[in-house]
């Protein structure tokens, strides 16, 4: 310990702070001088002996003759790969508060410059690919779980706060946040099996405290998500999600989310999930009028629900990526695998939509085409399916006359969610609809 005793009040000027400042300035001056002479000494030594720096950080000297030295950039040469609390992590210079991309979710206070982020993403991705792993970004709300505020509980749901009954282990009350959360059926098995194929991230529009609480419920042993939880407080854009702060390359990342619009730049990586709506208030939030699962007193099927089906598809994609594609791992593209898989779903279907879908027509058509279906405007003998809003449209009548499948849009949407043509019988439009 270096202790420098300062003179007592009697000898120092009235304002003691003044002498501290003087001493501070002196210390800084001396340290600066030492720093530059130290540099010079190292340089001259360098020619004659190898100089090992095991514990000293930031020893200078551009390595020469194959010496294993770290080269700390002088302030002028430094590319500032990132900042920690506003200080460059390589040269110590002050950097602006909004420098680069925020990766606070991984390490508080850390920001990384764009190129550095790309470099790290590539090298992380390479190492994952070598372990036969891709990257999976998971949304929380309505994808893996459903949360509601305690004040929005219906009278039927209220008893659940004290007695979870059959839902024990999947229903949790978070008193300090005034929330109740229901985990989606199959979620624990899903996470366990997916973790063998994917490096997983949580990306939610909830705030950070909420995200961390949910992670505790889903991953109590911190095996899956430890420093890979991205909340809206960590994202770069206010109300959108992006893969810019995910440590992976776009060609090897898949996203599971129930909302398309939050991923404007990564539609090709997105696998849209069927919304999980357990609580009445959640159904109402989306403007749905059907009964919530609590009202119906049942839950999504565990072994045949959305998560289970999506897991099967993920296994298919994983296998196709690693076993069927040719070329270097880093050059393969999971988006291509996804697109090809989609094209097979309705590949032998020829669809005509009823004319009254209006603004929904184009998105539905695009969905059908992405799934490999052919779409016509007017019915003809090659048509296999009519997708209509109700039984009494012109196209519906044609379907009945010619004995073609007459289905609602949900048939198409289900195929989109589950990557499989669904039995038409579950979606037929009937006389009284």
């Amino acid at each position: 310990m270096a202790v420098i005793q300062m003179s007592g009040a009697a000898n120092s000027p009235e304002n003691s702070d003044c002498s501290t400042d003087e001493l501070t300035a002196y210390v800084e001056l001396v340290l600066d001088e030492n720093a530059s002479t130290a540099d010079k000494e190292v340089d001259s030594q360098d020619q004659s002996e190898s100089f090992r720096t095991n514990e000293t950080e930031g020893s200078t000297s551009e390595g020469s003759k194959g010496k294993k030295l770290v080269a700390v950039s002088s302030v002028e040469e430094c590319v500032h790969p990132g900042s920690m609390e506003g200080i460059c992590i390589s040269c110590g210079q002050n950097l602006p508060e909004d420098y680069g991309l925020t990766v606070g979710y991984m390490q508080t206070g850390l920001r990384l410059e764009g190129e550095e982020m790309s470099r790290l993403s590539s090298s992380t991705m390479k190492s994952l690919l070598n372990q036969r792993k891709l990257c999976l970004v998971l949304d929380l709300d309505h994808t893996l779980l459903n949360t509601t505020s305690l004040i929005h509980l219906t009278s039927e749901e209220m008893p659940l706060t004290t007695n979870a009954g059959a839902l024990q282990g999947t229903l949790f009350v978070l008193e300090n946040m005034n929330l109740m959360t229901k985990l989606r059926p199959f979620v624990r098995t899903f996470l366990k099996e997916a973790s063998e194929m994917f490096e997983m991230y949580i990306y939610t529009m909830g705030d950070r405290p909420y995200a961390l609480e949910m992670a505790k419920l889903l991953d109590p042993q911190e095996e899956y998500f430890k420093d890979k939880i991205i909340s809206r407080d960590d994202g770069t854009k206010r109300d959108k999600k992006d893969l810019d702060i995910v440590m992976g390359t776009e060609n090897a990342i898949l996203i599971l989310d129930d909302k398309e619009e939050v991923w404007p730049n990564h539609n090709d990586n997105l696998m849209l999930m069927e919304r999980y709506l357990f609580f009445k208030s959640s159904c109402q939030d989306f403007g749905y009028k059907f009964k919530s699962l609590t009202a119906l007193q049942r839950d999504e099927d565990e072994t045949n629900g959305a998560l289970s089906k999506i897991l099967r598809v993920l296994k298919q994609i994983h296998s196709a990526f690693f076993d069927n594609l040719q070329g270097d791992l880093i050059d393969r593209d999971v988006r291509q695998v996804l697109a090809s898989l989609r094209l097979e779903v309705l590949s032998r279907c020829v669809i005509v939509f009823s004319h009254n879908f209006r603004s929904d027509l184009r998105p539905l058509r695009n969905m059908a085409r992405r799934l490999g279906a052919t779409c016509y405007t007017n019915p003809d003998p090659s048509v296999t399916h009519i997708v209509a809003t109700e039984f009494v449209t012109k196209e519906s009548r044609w379907a009945v006359q010619h004995n073609k499948f007459l289905v609602s849009r949900h048939w198409l949407e289900a195929a989109n969610f589950f990557y499989e043509k669904q039995p038409e019988d579950n979606f037929l439009l009937k006389q009284d609809q």
Partner: protein
């Protein structure tokens, strides 16, 4: 680096503390208020070592509180850019490691860790040389040089 300096502070005391224990109350309050705090100028106040002088108390208008200017000696700790310090490693991850030198938190980025040391993840993440001779992990002692400091309201 540690310093032993004299600082001054205006202490406000509630009348309930007046009486024969006034000075002791004042000193206890000073210690409670000041020890463990930090400022950009002096660094962390580690401990109050003695009272130099307590000035005349001024009664504040409108309340019964009295303000005493107190000069006190204390040990402070302040890191300097360029200073060499010894620290204990508290956390290691792939971005680098955190170490503590007393009350000061230090981050060392992987950019500044020697190239021949590689990150190894696991139960006890660490940076190790290729021949395994040097290992940096939690609770290891390291000697390092400060390249930049930042002060916020509560810490450095």
């Amino acid at each position: 680096m540690f310093f032993h300096i004299v600082l001054e502070r205006n202490m406000q005391l509630h009348p309930r503390y007046f009486g024969r224990n006034l000075r002791d109350n004042l000193v206890s309050k000073l210690m409670k208020d000041v020890e463990g705090t930090c400022s950009g100028r002096h660094g962390f106040v580690v401990a109050v070592t003695g009272i130099e002088n307590i000035g005349k108390g001024l009664i504040r208008d409108g309340t019964g509180f009295v303000t005493f200017p107190v000069k006190y000696q204390c040990v402070v700790f302040r890191p300097f850019k360029g200073e060499i310090l010894e620290a204990v490693v508290t956390m290691v991850n792939k971005m680098g490691f955190f170490a503590e030198a007393g009350p000061v938190q230090i981050f060392v980025s992987n950019h500044l860790i020697p190239d021949d040391m590689e990150f190894q993840s696991g139960d006890m993440p660490n940076y190790t040389t290729s021949d395994g001779s040097v290992k940096i992990q939690k609770d290891s002692e390291v000697r390092l040089k400060i390249i930049g400091t930042r002060v916020d309201a509560t810490e450095i």
